[in-house]
Structure formats: C-alpha cells, structure tokens
C-alpha cells in the first residue's frame, strides 16, 4: 500500500452515515492521482448497486420469449427446443453496455472553496469515482467539460477511463458559465441513451436550468444533476464588510454580510427548492452536494438512492 493509500485509509471516519467510514475531503485534496482516489473511494463501496437501464445480451439470463421471425438464431435456446420442440429466444440483462457521460461545469464559480476543496476539485473526485465505478461495471465512460460552451470532450468508451481521468485532471475553473448552449450540443451529439452526470453549481435561475436540461431529458438520457455548493455559499458565513468580487464576471460590489446574511440564505434556499422542484417535475435526478461532506459519503448516498430508484423502476 502506498503512502497516499495509507493516508486515505487513515483518513476514514465514521461521521455522516452510521456504520460507514468516509474520507475527509481535505485528505483527498492532498492527493493528485485521480485514479488512485477513485479506486480507493470506490473499493470501499458495494459493487453493482445500480442496474443498467436497458436489457441486453449478457451472461445473466433474464427470461425466455418465443421466437419471432427475424430474431437472431444465435440466441436460440436449443435445449428448450430439444425438450419441448418449441423455439425460444434467451433474453439476458444487459448491464455492461451503458454510456456514462460526466458533464463537468468548469466555469469560474466552480473554483471557489472554503472547506479544503474547491467545488471543481470536489466535482473532479465525484466524477472520477463514478467514472471508475462505471468502468468497473463495464460501462462506457466519457467526459464533457463546459462553461458557456463545450470546453473538452472525451467520447464515451469502455477504453476511455484514463482519458476521462486525464480530462478531469486538466480541467480548470475559469470563464463565465451558461448551461443552455453546451447541453444542447451534447443532446445533439449523443444519440445513444446514456447516463449523464452533470456536476455544477447551477448559478442560473431554476427555470433556465430546467430549460437547459430539457433537450437531454427529451432525448431519453438518464440525467443525474449534482448541485455542488460550498458551505460559505449556503450559509454566507462572512463577518467583515468589504467588496465581493464575482469569480466569473469580475464584478465587484460592497457588501455588509451581517446585514445581508438573512436575505441571502433565504434566496439560496428558495433557489435550491426551486431547482429541486423543477428538476423533479422533469424526472431528473437531483442531488445537492455540500462540498464539506466526505466524497464517499456523497457517493454512498447517491448510489443508495439510485438503488431505490432502480427498484422502483
């Protein structure tokens, strides 16, 4: 075990979810190797919590169905034909042929962070872990980094894990962000139904976010939106009056936090509620992520949630 792996193991704690040990984000921040982080994070998880949204031909038998003209005779169950003299086709659960596309928001606002990790770093860990996890399930993994347009694109492939991880590693938070245009382009380029993981801080009005995600949703993709926010963004824990500068636009305004905190928290709470409501109405999986929480705890919660959703489905 390397020093980094040992550090990860030592950094596990039991906060968050009883019976589980999680990784302190500050420990992860000290490790540069995304693959290592993803592997160690995922290794601590149960495997196969989520199921492929489509049935396919795999080794796991699902059911028989009667042969219909045009079916591939290679999937004919000859043993059943020998016993019953009837032609049946074998159906298998196809959970290894899904596309898993990470859409990472790399706008300037994602470079913010007060709890040891910036939001983009946190998003990189999440994306890397889930990509690694999907890759282990023989899914095809890909990556799209966006700000107000597409910045980098790694097409989904079973062999693109390393490229995905490198793409994540290269991503820098800068520029102004606007989801509508890049998401529209993704919807136009991804014809195959995929699991799309959007990692963003969603600094846009809720209705605009819904509209931006609309084309993807309409294309039949399985959309997962992780809304990453720093605790300072959630609680506005500033004391000294001063000038606040927008990380994307560079605009500066004087702010007296003490007088603004209540109003701000109301606004951010309303915004989160509006986003969750609108995305829920569009059957888009939404998860608000506090970047001060351990990455694996978030993954754990996410996977449990996906498990429940699969069961319902």
């Amino acid at each position: 075990m390397s020093d980094a792996a040992r550090a990860i193991e030592e950094a596990r704690n039991t906060e968050g979810v009883p019976g589980r040990t999680f990784l302190d984000p500050k420990v992860l921040a000290r490790i540069d190797d995304l693959e290592l982080v993803a592997r160690f994070v995922v290794e601590g998880f149960i495997s196969g919590l989520h199921r492929s949204p489509h049935l396919g031909f795999s080794t796991d038998f699902a059911e028989h169905r009667q042969y219909m003209p045009g079916d591939d005779t290679r999937h004919m169950d000859w043993r059943v034909y020998a016993r019953t003299d009837r032609l049946y086709i074998k159906n298998y659960e196809a959970d290894t042929n899904a596309n898993f596309l990470v859409i990472l928001d790399v706008s300037g606002s994602m470079g913010y962070g007060t709890s040891g990790l910036t939001k983009i770093q946190y998003a990189k860990y999440l994306g890397a872990c889930l990509a690694y996890f999907s890759h282990r399930q023989r899914d095809r993994v890909g990556l799209v980094t966006v700000d107000s347009d597409i910045v980098d694109f790694v097409p989904p492939s079973a062999k693109h894990l390393n490229q995905v991880l490198h793409g994540l590693d290269r991503a820098k938070a800068k520029g102004r962000g606007a989801l509508a245009m890049p998401l529209l382009k993704i919807s136009e380029s991804q014809h195959r139904k995929s699991v799309l993981l959007l990692l963003s801080d969603l600094y846009e009005p809720a209705d605009k976010i819904r509209d931006a995600l609309g084309p993807l949703r309409d294309a039949g993709h399985d959309l997962v939106v992780m809304h990453l926010l720093d605790p300072a963004e959630l609680n506005f824990t500033f004391d000294a009056a001063g000038t606040f500068e927008d990380l994307e636009s560079g605009e500066r305004i004087p702010v007296v936090p003490g007088r603004l905190r209540t109003r701000y928290t109301e606004l951010i709470r309303d915004h989160l509620a509006a986003v969750e409501k609108l995305l829920g109405e569009g059957r888009i999986d939404y998860l608000m992520v506090d970047t001060s929480k351990p990455v694996d705890e978030v993954l754990f919660q996410y996977l449990l949630r996906r498990e429940r959703m699969q069961s319902v489905r």
Binding site: Y112, G242, T243, L247, R252, V256
Partner: protein, 694 residues
C-alpha cells in the same frame, strides 16, 4: 506669537489628506472572491454624492487633528505684547539701549541703520517699560527715561552723530549694569547697536550684566568696507649745517578690495610743504616719505593728508612740527680747569637726545646768581657748597621747582657742605668709605619703581650691579633712599624742597672712586637722574581722541578766580569750541573729542603763545576687523549663582521660556483625543455608509 520650528508648517499640506479622503471615491482594497453575485444585492457607491463632503463632522475632526499636529510641531511661542507681559509679570521692562557712535560708525550707512534700530527699540516699548539710552564711543553717556521723557531719548537719537573717538564697550556695559542693578522692574534687557569692532572689546574688562538680563545685539555693519587712512607719522631729526632738519615719513593703509594710487601732502601751518605719491594694493599698507625740511623756530601745526575717500576724517593725520625738547642745565665743577675728571659727565650730557641737555658749565668759584636764570637743573659735580648769596638763590631755585643733582666726591665733605645745605640735602655728608680692599662695593638695592630708575626695571635694560664703587660718601639718611650699596649705605638719595627736588649720588663720576663712567649703564644712569631731578616729563604733542592731554608746561601757572582747584586752561578745539580746563568751573582734564589741532593757553592769558596739541583718530579704531556679536553676548551674560533656597533668575527665566512654548503639549493632547473620537466616528459612519441599497 512666534514659532520655534516654522518649517513644520509645511505639514499643513497634510490638510489635503482628509479632504481627499472625503472627496475622492476609491473602493476598498480588501476584496472577497465569491462564486457568483447572483444572490448578493449590490450596494453601489453613490458617486455623485461623494463628490462633496458628506461627513462634515468626521472631516472637521480629521482636519483639526492635522492642524493640531502641525501646530504642535511648529512649537508656537506666545510672546505677549509688552502691555500684557507687564500686566502678567506685575511690571515692565528695564531696557538699556547701547548706541555706538564711535568713529567707525561713520562708514557707509552704519549710523543711519543704528539710528533706525534705536528708534525701533524705543517704539517697541510699552507704557510700563522704562528705557535708558546709552550713547557710547570710548566713553558712555546715559539718558534715562527716569529723568527724561521718551521724546528726549528719541531726540537724542536723532541729534547724535558719530564722533572721532574709538570704540570701547566696557564703559557702556558698566553703565548698563549700573542702570539695571538699580532698577526695580522685573525684566531687564540690553540692546547693543553697534558695528562690533574687535578693537573695542577687551575681554579682560569685567563687563558682566546682572543675571537674567536679555542681551540683544544688533549688528549694523555692512560686509564690505573700503577705507584709506593715514595710520602713523614718524619724524627723523638731523642736524644739517647747524640747523635741525626733519624728515617726515607717514604710514598709509588701504582697506578694501581695490588697489589705489594715493597722493599724499605734507602741510605745515596750512600750507603744502611737500607732496608725494604712492600706489597701495588691496588690503595693504605703504610708507610715504617727504623731503626733509627745516624746523621752524616756533611749533607749527602740521598734517599728512591723502586723497579723500568716503570717510575723510581718517585721511589726515595731525602732528606738531617743533624742535626737540631740551633741558637747560647748569653744570658746576668743583675742580680746577684742565682736569680730565669732569669729562665723563660733560660728555654724557652732550650726548643726550630727546631731551637734549643745554649745558652751561661753571666753576664753583665763578658761580653767580645769574647763572641760574632759565635753568631747570643744577648739577654740583663734586663741587663745594656755594657762597651764602648763591646758596640762598640755589635754595630758592629748588623751592620753585628747579632741580639739583649733587655728585658727592671727595670735595663734598662735612666741612665743605654745612649741615644738610640749608635743607636741600637729605642728610649731611659723612665720611668717605673705602671699599678698595674688598674690590669695591656694588649697588645692592635699587628702587626700580622710582621714576628715576624705572627705565632699568625691565629685562636687559641696564645692569646697575656692574659698576664697582671703591669709595663713596656716607649719608646717614632714613628716608629718600633710592639705591643702596651692598653694605646698606645709601648710594642715591632724594630730598624734595618746595616744588623742586635734590638728588644726591654718594660717589663721584670721575672714574676714580668707581668705574661707573666706564660702564654702559653710565649714560642712561646720568640721563635718568638728570631728567628726574629737573622735573622733565616727556611731553606729547600728538594724542588720540579720548586720551587725556598732559597740560604741564603750558605757560606759567595761573590760579583761577576761586583759587580752589588749581590751574585753569583754555583750550580751543579744532571745530572752534572753547573749553575751560581745570579750576572750579572747568573740566577736570582736557580729553579731546575731535581730531585736529587743539590750542591750549593758560586761562587769563589770551595773548600767550598757545601750546599746540595734535589729536587724531585712535589707531585701534582704524582697525575695522569685527567680531561675532554673540561673543559679546556670552561674555557679558552672567552665569546665575546657585541658590539652594530658591530658583535663580536664570532658572526662572528658563522656566518662563519653557512655559511660553509648552503649549505644544496641550496641542498634542487634544490631537490625541480627537484621534480617538475620529476612530469611533469613522467606524460608525463606515458601517452606515456600507448599508446595501434595497
């Protein structure tokens, strides 16, 4: 009010800082990066409102802080006006104004500036103050406000002019000290208005002023001085064809940056007797020599005059052209003619110069009363006491101021000189004492403080112990002994009779009883005794302004009408002023105040030939070198004596001066308080200013 450090007033520029802070908008530098301002309501600065001062209280506080700090650093000193000061101290000031009117103040605009400074000093006086004006040159005269009005002081300043006298600060400072010491006023000030000529300041003179006196020097001298002057004259006498001729040499100086060609004239009795020309470099001197000329029979006024400049008074130097002084002497020889024993004394008298000795030699046997006529000295060279008639006349001669020098050789015995010679001798001649066995006696004790021997008082000025006296006459005298032999016997004695005197030498001057005539000291020994016995004093005919003039020999003695105060003289000054000297109504002495020729006659004898006295600018006054006035200030300032029981005046003065400028402490204190107030105000206003706009 004045400031000790006025340059700190430049700090007033700092007042612009609070103005700029209040007028110029600049966002805060402390910036907090935030992901998005989407939910932050902006609180924009109100630029239009910030172009003018909004927080007047804060601005005024900050401006006041700057103002107070600058004021504190400039160290303000509150000099109260004289009235207020007088009221505060319970009295006024005793101000003594010393105004220099010496000759050097004639140069340039010194006197005008001095008058202006004096008037200004008077104008600065308050009603409670009291002034004393001391006008001084070599002497000082005070005009006190105590007895005169302030207008009289001003009139004195207006009417005074620089004289010909030299500068002496000591009398003026002494007068100031006396005035201040007598004053009851609490504050004392002395203002010295002068050109601060170095020659006028003698550090050896005690001129300290009372403790606590403020001394303010006012220097009126300009930096550049150009002046030519005749500094001195030298007269060399020579006998040419039986007539005495004189060669006049003058020393001329040229103080200034430019070389000069100078024409010099020798004037005798107002007529040009000779001229000469001389080129002198810058700040240099030269000597001009005129052709020799015959000396007139009677004294004549003479002068060396050079090309006049801006200060013409020192371009001329006065002197009196007269024959060398001479003492008429009657030499009475006791020996028979043809003896060479008398040659020593005769030759010694012939050699005499300044004064010369006009010797008339007589044998004792040939002596007659008419021989005493016109004589000032009778020398009895080993001669017997004369006959009774002659003895009486001789006694009268001495009593009336004549001199008698007795050389007591073998002919002066108790039998040849009866008793003490009618009271002329200090003692009767005794026996002859022979010291041949012990190789002669020497002079053991000599009263060198006596005028007759004062010439020998200096080093290498004659060895009176060299002569050997083998024989000498013993005089048993208790007083009047000027010199003794080594056995205590009197060697030289003096006896005063009336206004005359008798000098006795207890040995011969013929080379037999001693080797004195063969010693170098013989000549001055004889001359000194002869001059003293005759009552001769070296007369001066050239004086400097301020020097008392010796009037001896100015005609016959004349008693004034009251007869109480001795001789009276009348002097006519060069400006034509008539001065009465002596007597009950005249000045005590003639102290010339003008340069030129004074004519002095005995009072009541207008037809008498006057004695001419040449008076010139003091030589030291022509030395225009100056000194730092602060040296005078420090020199005359008295160091306060330490009184353990109370603070000294100097300490009190220091404490008072410290109190005058201690206001800066309070200014700093107020500024510090305002700074605290400013901090509180700024904090509160800052919070309010950053309130977001909803």
């Amino acid at each position: 009010m004045s400031f000790l450090a006025p340059l700190f007033a430049i700090g007033l520029i700092g007042l612009a800082i609070p103005i700029l802070v209040h007028l110029v908008h600049k966002e805060r530098k402390e910036t907090t990066l935030f992901p998005s301002l989407m939910f932050l309501l902006r609180t924009p600065y109100q630029h239009s409102r910030r172009q003018r001062i909004r927080d007047w209280l804060l601005f005024l506080t900050r401006a006041a802080v700057f103002l107070l700090l600058v004021a504190a650093f400039t160290r303000p000193v509150f000099d109260r006006p004289p009235d207020a000061q007088a009221a505060a101290t319970g009295g006024g000031r005793e101000v003594v104004i010393l105004l220099d009117r010496s000759f050097s103040m004639r140069i340039g605009d010194r006197w005008t500036r001095a008058q202006g400074a004096a008037r200004q000093a008077l104008d600065a006086l308050g009603p409670a103050d009291r002034a004393t004006l001391v006008v001084f040159a070599d002497q000082a005269r005070a005009i006190r406000e105590e007895t005169e009005s302030r207008a009289a002081l001003r009139a004195t300043i207006d009417s005074s002019r620089p004289g010909d006298a030299g500068t002496r600060y000591a009398p003026a400072l002494a007068l100031a000290r006396r005035t201040l010491a007598e004053s009851k006023l609490p504050k004392r000030e002395v203002q010295v208005i002068s050109d601060f000529q170095r020659s006028g300041w003698d550090v050896s003179e005690d001129a300290r002023l009372p403790a606590g006196t403020t001394i303010t020097p006012t220097d009126v001298a300009s930096s550049e001085v150009a002046d030519r002057a005749v500094r001195a004259v030298e007269l060399r006498r020579a006998m040419v064809d039986g007539r005495e001729r004189i060669t006049v040499t003058a020393r001329v100086s040229n103080v200034g940056p430019a070389a000069r060609g100078i024409e010099a004239r020798l004037e005798v009795a107002g007529r040009v007797a000779a001229t000469s020309r001389l080129d002198i470099g810058a700040d240099a001197g030269g000597v001009v020599t005129f052709e020799s000329l015959a000396i007139p029979e009677s004294p004549q006024p003479a002068a060396i005059r050079i090309t006049p400049d801006n200060v013409p008074t020192d371009d001329v130097l006065h002197f009196v052209l007269e024959r060398a002084p001479s003492i008429p002497v009657l030499l009475v020889e006791g020996l028979t003619a043809g003896s060479d024993r008398e040659v020593y004394l005769q030759r010694a008298l012939e050699i005499g110069d300044r004064p010369s000795f006009d010797v008339t030699m007589r044998r004792s046997s040939q002596l007659s009363p008419t021989d005493l006529s016109g004589k000032r000295l009778v020398i009895m060279n080993n001669a017997p006491w004369p006959s009774s008639v002659m003895a009486v006349r001789l006694q009268e001669f001495v009593s009336n101021g004549g001199g008698l020098l007795v050389v007591a050789g073998d002919a002066v015995t108790a039998t040849s000189w009866p008793g003490n010679a009618s009271g002329l001798l200090p003692a009767a001649p005794g026996d002859m004492k022979d010291r041949l066995a012990d190789k002669g006696a020497v002079l053991g004790a000599i009263d060198r403080s006596h005028p007759a021997f004062s010439l020998f008082g200096g080093a290498q000025s004659g060895d009176l112990s060299a002569p050997r006296f083998y024989r000498y006459r013993v005089f048993n005298a208790d007083s009047g002994i000027l010199a003794r032999f080594d056995d205590g016997a009197p060697a030289v004695l003096e006896r005063r009779t009336g206004t005359g005197r008798t000098i006795v030498v207890a040995s011969s001057m013929d080379g037999l009883w001693n080797d004195l005539p063969r010693q170098p000291v013989f000549l001055p020994f004889v001359h000194q005794l002869a001059q003293y016995a005759s009552g001769y004093r070296a007369g001066r005919s050239v004086y400097e302004v301020g020097d008392p003039v010796d009037l001896q020999g100015v005609g016959p003695a004349v008693a004034d009408s009251a007869g109480a105060r001795g001789v009276a003289y009348v002097a006519m000054s060069p400006q034509g002023n008539r001065l009465r000297i002596g007597g009950s109504q005249g000045e005590a002495a003639l102290i010339p105040a003008e340069s030129g020729i004074y004519e002095v006659r005995p009072a009541g004898a207008p037809g008498a030939r006057p004695r001419l006295v040449a008076v010139n600018i003091p030589g030291r006054e022509l030395d225009l070198a100056r000194f730092d006035p602060t040296r005078l200030t420090h020199s005359v300032a008295t160091v306060a004596e330490v009184d353990p029981g109370s603070s000294s005046p100097a300490e009190g003065d220091l404490a008072q001066r410290e109190r005058k400028q201690s206001v800066w402490w309070y200014l700093l204190l107020v500024a510090a308080t305002l700074l605290v107030v400013e901090s509180v105000l700024a904090y509160r206003l800052s919070r309010n200013r950053l309130t977001p706009v909803n």
